[in-house]
Symmetry: C2
Subunit: 420 residues, 2 copies
């Protein structure tokens, strides 16, 4: 009985979202921007209320013994709240992605054809620890004219509830109905699963988090999914790579923020380069506490490395471990990436333009780098404005997804009695 009621609740919320989304979709850009500024101000004014809710989550997290990286993702500070609030203002400054005329022509029979960008409708956002996603995703959804259903991780439930409470109060002072933002106030796994199949009410699901969350959604949802972010990224250092550049990029791509999806997990090194730069490479790795798990060729050169197994090649470490493979040809690197890569970001360091072009053409991934760090795969860093996630799928949107990824199109045909 409890489950039945809860199912009805989630479905009722989805229906509310759809209805409110229709009102939102008819609002002007100015009305939407005004609402975003209002939201930003409210979140800043009520930062203490949000922080005290966050403290409950942190307390529970400490009791559960979550690791440091996890606690860091969960933790809010006044500065973090002001950062995500300000993110709403930045979204307000971006172009409205809806109402754009993408095509306009008149057929020989006089029928006028136009293709116009419109909101998707209702977005289901399923995410993990970070409470800032609650605000980031809401801002992008509202700006693009979409309602949003938020299902955050159970460890952040108090923070998320407080943030949504502030946003709901704040939306009452705007033209956007507060029902456009629905919060699944439950730590129950079944409530997310209910979202998976609500094809009638939800237009797209966006899972954002670790690989097991994304796998669960992709495998079980009949609602279309925008798959984000598992990044088993590789850096290939070619025989003709500049030594200093290769080491600088390796260090940045591995250590700048090891826990994010655009960090590298494996370095593939050409044997000729390795012979020449072994001492510097080992020095760089040791100095920066990077632990190597290598193939046999690696171990022959770096005896302190552990022997890599299948898991080392296949999984994201998200920490200062790195897998290392030695190859004799760029094609071996390409084959390894094809086998283990997640089509996120892959890089080659080489001074040889032809080798780089060969790599770019043959590697199948959202983002490919020649002589630059994979860390740039990010809507902000690439100058695309805010992002709702990084797509590792091929349909609809690939790579960093901004406002445009939250729209679809309508073909509008105007005639004066045309028949076929």
């Amino acid at each position: 009985m409890y489950l039945l009621n809860q199912k009805s609740t989630v479905e009722a919320q989805a229906i509310q979202a759809k209805k409110a989304g229709k009102v939102l979709s008819l609002l002007s850009t100015e009305d939407k921007n005004h609402a975003l500024y209002t939201l930003a101000q409210s979140l800043e004014m009520e930062f203490e209320f949000i922080l005290s809710a966050n403290e409950k989550d942190l307390q529970a997290g400490r009791e559960k013994g979550f690791n440091e990286a996890y606690m860091d993702r969960l933790a809010l500070t006044k500065m973090r709240i002001f950062e995500f609030s300000d993110g709403l203002r930045q979204v307000a400054e971006l172009d409205d992605p809806t109402g754009k005329i993408l095509l306009s022509k008149t057929l020989e029979n006089g029928l006028e054809v136009s293709k116009i960008s419109v909101p998707l409708g209702v977005i289901g956002m399923i995410y993990e620890a970070r409470p800032n996603v609650t605000v980031d995703a809401t801002g992008l959804a509202l700006k693009s004219g979409n309602a949003i259903i938020l299902k955050g991780g159970s460890s952040a439930i108090n923070s998320n509830r407080a943030i949504v409470e502030v946003m709901h109060r704040s939306l009452s002072d705007t033209k956007i109905p507060k029902e456009t933002v629905q919060f699944i106030d439950s730590t129950n796994r079944e409530t997310s699963q209910q979202l998976f199949t609500m094809r009638e009410h939800i237009d797209v699901l966006i899972p954002r988090g670790g690989s097991s969350l994304i796998h669960e959604v992709v495998s079980n949802a009949s609602v279309p999914v925008l798959e984000t972010g598992v990044g088993n990224c590789h850096l290939y250092i070619d025989s003709e790579a500049d030594g200093a550049m290769a080491l600088k990029i390796l260090l940045n791509a591995k250590t700048d923020r090891p826990a994010v999806c655009n960090a590298i997990e494996t370095v593939i090194v050409h044997q000729d380069w390795l012979k020449k730069h072994k001492t510097d490479l080992i020095h760089t790795l040791v100095q920066n506490n990077i632990n190597v798990h290598g193939d046999e060729h690696t171990l022959a050169e770096i005896p302190s490395a552990a022997l890599a197994d299948e898991q080392d090649w296949a999984n994201e470490y998200l920490n200062l471990n790195i897998a290392m493979k030695v190859v004799q040809h760029v094609d071996e690197a390409i084959e390894h990436i094809e086998c283990y890569g997640t089509k996120h970001s892959e890089a080659i360091i080489t001074e040889n333009g032809e080798t780089a072009a060969h790599f770019m053409q043959r590697v199948d991934a959202a983002a490919l780098y020649h002589n630059a760090s994979t860390r740039f795969t990010d809507g902000g860093a690439l100058g695309f404005g805010a992002e709702i996630g990084i797509s590792t799928q091929k349909l609809h949107a690939r790579g960093p997804m901004g406002l445009e990824a939250l729209t679809t199109v309508k073909y509008i045909m105007t005639g004066n009695g045309q028949i076929r």
Copy 2:
């Protein structure tokens, strides 16, 4: 044991397709076009071989007592073969959708960013009776640099096998590896189901056929799906609709080709218009053998009509039956469409521009018509070139899908040592 072997066969074919697709993806536009012209010529030269295989399917179909419309979809003639062969030449004439630079910019740090269209990879096409889909889909796939796995309906197996045999022989004279075109030579349902979950080898599934086929694929596939074509389309005749225009469009949209997805299934009539034009409407319906299933208001005006039930509103007739509802306001029509429409094509007939704009803004569908027939929702009719299907989903592609829908993008970043 048998099933195990068959699974291996389908998987082996998918792996072959992926490998061959990589070779195809590197070919020039000229090489791909040359192959399409070669295929067209071969199919025309071997039309008798194809016709004799088709005769076996027709014979089996007659024995199974398939209805006339089904047999018509299955039947090939010399003319039909020449039509689909010529379709390949038309595809050759279209722009290559791959290798297009969709964005190109240099960031402040000097990193050059470009976004380039590339093939999806491997397309799984699951379809029903029409053997022409075998050729149409192959042509679009090859032109866009994709390998294709063809799983046609069991009733057309002999025709499809013969067509693929001719195409395979013909591809040996071109640079496109024949392994880019894989034919699942089985009438076994399980072989299509095996395609549903091969996420590693297949990039997209395109089901094309009746609603039960599409439903099966959408509900069970973990491979991304491009959903096509169930069209429960409506025509709304407003109080301010021109009488003659409304009747002309009603007739065309219902009777021109009742079995296709862009034909209308329901007419929604404003009561004021009905009062004025009742005699002409009844005359038109009777003269053209259109059977009406109406709501109570309809029955009050047209006593010969049958009473419509839930099925009449929800399902495609695909024949000369039509459902009819009488309303007092355009919003009632919009609500009905929202409840029963499949987001394919919806039309309004009115002389009032504001009412039309209201309808266009609020109805959620791929194609919306003001004073024109829904029959124009078709890549050819709208001048978009060939189409692989009409998308009724919102992600990736909506409405008629041409070559562009078979591509994705790569971001290519070129630097000189940039790090974050």
